[in-house]
């Protein structure tokens, strides 16, 4: 059943609607667990669109296997998605910096407060992101040290390639995930793919994982596929590669490949002079799990992240 969770009147003959699709078992007992799938907080991240579609398709084809409630929000930021805008149009604000919101606050905070109110009560929330238009990410779960005890069991079953546990000091307190975790709703953040694109194989991989988690929770009784055992990494094991020149980045090493310290990852070129401005090398031995997709770089632009010491 499609519900309008938020409805706001825009100036001229239009409503801002944030909708969810709630799927319930054929027969309700009143004791069902609830999982909420959220995506589209950033209007340029589209990988979650295919995931939402595919979850709904699989459930609809096998309704007899559903024993819990599944809430799907494909577009937390509908104006952003429909206008290829990362933030909330008209406010130039990152929606994922406005949680938990406030009903007395300005419009973005009012919206996020309503969304939080709707999700509270879920037994698990999966918040799907797709990096941004600049970087490609291998499917991964990100969490903070303080939430890892609660979230790791879900993260290990959701079929991602690795789990990145952040130091508590770097946690952004105004995100959906942090707010929901503080309110008692276990919420895991999945990052995968790249902005403005859909990577079908990542979509299938995550959907298989979500059904696996739903089966563990007693929400799904259908067959599920075996899932990957993810590499778990702490902050200290991740090497960052930033551009040390401005220019055009052309990668050489592919994502999810093993590189040694000093190994050539790519070049920053100067098409006006025909020179290489900077030869980009790996800071450590490990596996490339983030790689720049958008070629224009400035001094400091993130080029890659390397999972130190790990060979896949």
């Amino acid at each position: 059943m499609i519900e309008n969770v938020v409805s706001i009147e825009l100036p001229v003959d239009e409503k801002l609607l944030i909708q969810k699709n709630r799927i319930e078992p054929l027969e309700m007992t009143g004791k069902e667990k609830r999982i909420t799938i959220v995506t589209g907080t950033h209007g340029d991240e589209l990988e979650g669109q295919f995931v939402c579609y595919e979850i709904l398709r699989r459930i609809r084809d096998n309704m007899e296997n559903l024993h819990g409630v599944v809430d799907i929000f494909p577009a937390f930021n509908p104006l952003g998605i429909d206008s290829i805008t990362r933030g909330i149009p008209m406010f130039d604000l990152d929606m994922n910096r406005t949680f938990p919101g406030s009903k007395e606050g300005n419009l973005p905070e009012y919206i996020t407060a309503q969304l939080i109110e709707d999700i509270v009560g879920s037994d698990l929330c999966v918040d799907i992101h797709a990096s941004n238009i600049y970087l490609r990410e291998m499917p991964q779960v990100r969490m903070s040290e303080i939430t890892q005890e609660k979230l790791m069991p879900y993260a290990k079953r959701i079929n991602v390639d690795f789990v990145w546990v952040h130091a508590s000091a770097t946690v952004l307190e105004s995100t959906l995930a942090h707010s929901l975790n503080m309110l008692g709703v276990p919420t895991i953040v999945v990052e995968m793919g790249v902005g403005m694109r859909i990577t079908r194989e990542y979509g299938y991989q995550l959907v298989d994982g979500i059904f696996n988690v739903m089966k563990e929770m007693g929400i799904w009784s259908g067959d599920v596929l075996p899932v990957r055992d993810p590499i778990v990494s702490q902050d200290g094991a991740v090497g960052f590669v930033n551009a040390e020149a401005s220019g055009i980045f052309v990668p050489i090493a592919p994502i999810w490949s093993y590189v040694e310290q000093g190994e050539h990852i790519g070049n920053i070129l100067n098409p006006l002079t025909g020179h290489i401005e900077h030869r980009v090398v790996s800071p450590c031995d490990g596996t490339l799990f983030t790689l720049r997709e958008y070629p224009i770089v400035y001094h400091g632009s993130l080029i890659a992240r390397v999972l130190g010491g790990v060979r896949v």
């Binding site: 100036p11 933030g87 008209m90 419009l107």
Partner: protein
């Protein structure tokens, strides 16, 4: 006056980004003043330019105090200003959400680190900045409640209002907040405009800064004593929301007095022109902030009122 390019950044095809510092006087680091950090802060750039003009004249007449140095950084993000963007044009990040910066991090973290390295260590830090909500404020001085703030110092600007804001997580990466954490007394000065130049409030801001610098013994400048400010906690302002979307027609301006039950704005049907909703003042007081754009969405904040205050 001594000019220097203290930070520069090469681009693939654009001219270099050069961040300029203007030094007045010599000696202990007395005051640092930062203008526009966002591409639409044209008024903030203008105010700084007028301040540099005034300080240049004061210095020429020997009116900078001995052993005091003032640094003015008029613009940080003119790369965005020159192409009509508010935030860093490549990745839409806000440099004023990147402090104290990180010189091995991403581009805007490196720019913030470059600016902060130059701007820190001064006794007083003053930033001309803007708010994320589109609208007009009464000119005021704003401070973050970090535990290091000093409202009585803010009073020395002689502006009509001093606002104390409880920082939210998002505020902890602003220049103002980090100045305070690094033991600089920090103030943000808000004038009426951002994208447009308002001469009157710009002059008021320049006078307020010169008045403050005089009172702190950094310059010698004779000016009007200004106001004894009303100090307001931001959370005590009464917020008024729009209860419909449409064409916005405001009837009360910032600084004007209003009364409980008074109509302070109307929202018109965008097709038929009839009044769809009236925005009613819930309290007696003075309008502190008012929505300015011609269109409004339902639940937008259209007004903030200082309760039970009279003109």
């Amino acid at each position: 006056m001594r000019k220097e390019v203290f930070y520069s950044l090469k681009a693939p095809y654009r001219d270099e980004l050069r961040i300029m510092g203007y030094h007045f006087g010599q000696g202990e680091k007395a005051a640092c003043i930062v203008g526009s950090t966002r591409g639409n802060e044209v008024q903030q750039l203008y105010v700084c330019s007028q301040l540099i003009k005034a300080l240049k004249e004061l210095e020429a007449h020997g009116n900078i105090a001995a052993n005091k140095e003032i640094l003015v950084i008029p613009s940080v993000n003119h790369y965005s200003m020159n192409i009509g963007k508010r935030f860093w044009a490549v990745d839409n990040t806000d440099i004023n959400r990147m402090f104290p910066g990180y010189n091995r991090g991403e581009t805007t973290q490196r720019i913030a680190a470059g600016v902060f390295e130059k701007a820190q260590g001064y006794s007083y830090g003053i930033q001309f900045t803007s708010f994320y909500m589109p609208g007009d404020f009464v000119p005021h001085v704003r401070m973050m409640e970090t535990g290091y703030q000093n409202a009585s110092l803010a009073n020395l600007f002689g502006m009509p209002y001093v606002v104390i804001r409880k920082p939210k997580p998002i505020d902890t990466t602003t220049l103002n907040y980090n100045w305070q954490i690094w033991e600089t007394s920090a103030f943000s000065v808000y004038t009426k405009e951002t994208d447009l130049i308002d001469g009157d409030s710009a002059r008021q801001a320049v006078s307020a800064v010169l008045r403050f610098l005089t009172r702190m013994g950094i310059i010698r400048y004779n000016c009007h004593s200004g106001y004894i400010a009303s100090v307001i906690a931001e959370e005590e302002l009464t917020t008024v929301h729009a209860n419909a979307g449409g064409i916005y027609h405001r009837l009360k301006m910032p600084g004007q007095e209003t009364h409980r039950g008074e109509v302070i704005a109307e929202i018109l049907d965008p097709y038929e022109g009839i009044v769809r909703s009236q925005v009613i003042s819930p309290t007696d007081g003075v309008i502190f902030f008012s929505h300015k754009k011609p269109l409004v969405m339902e639940h937008d904040i259209v007004c903030r009122i200082i309760r039970r205050l009279h003109e």
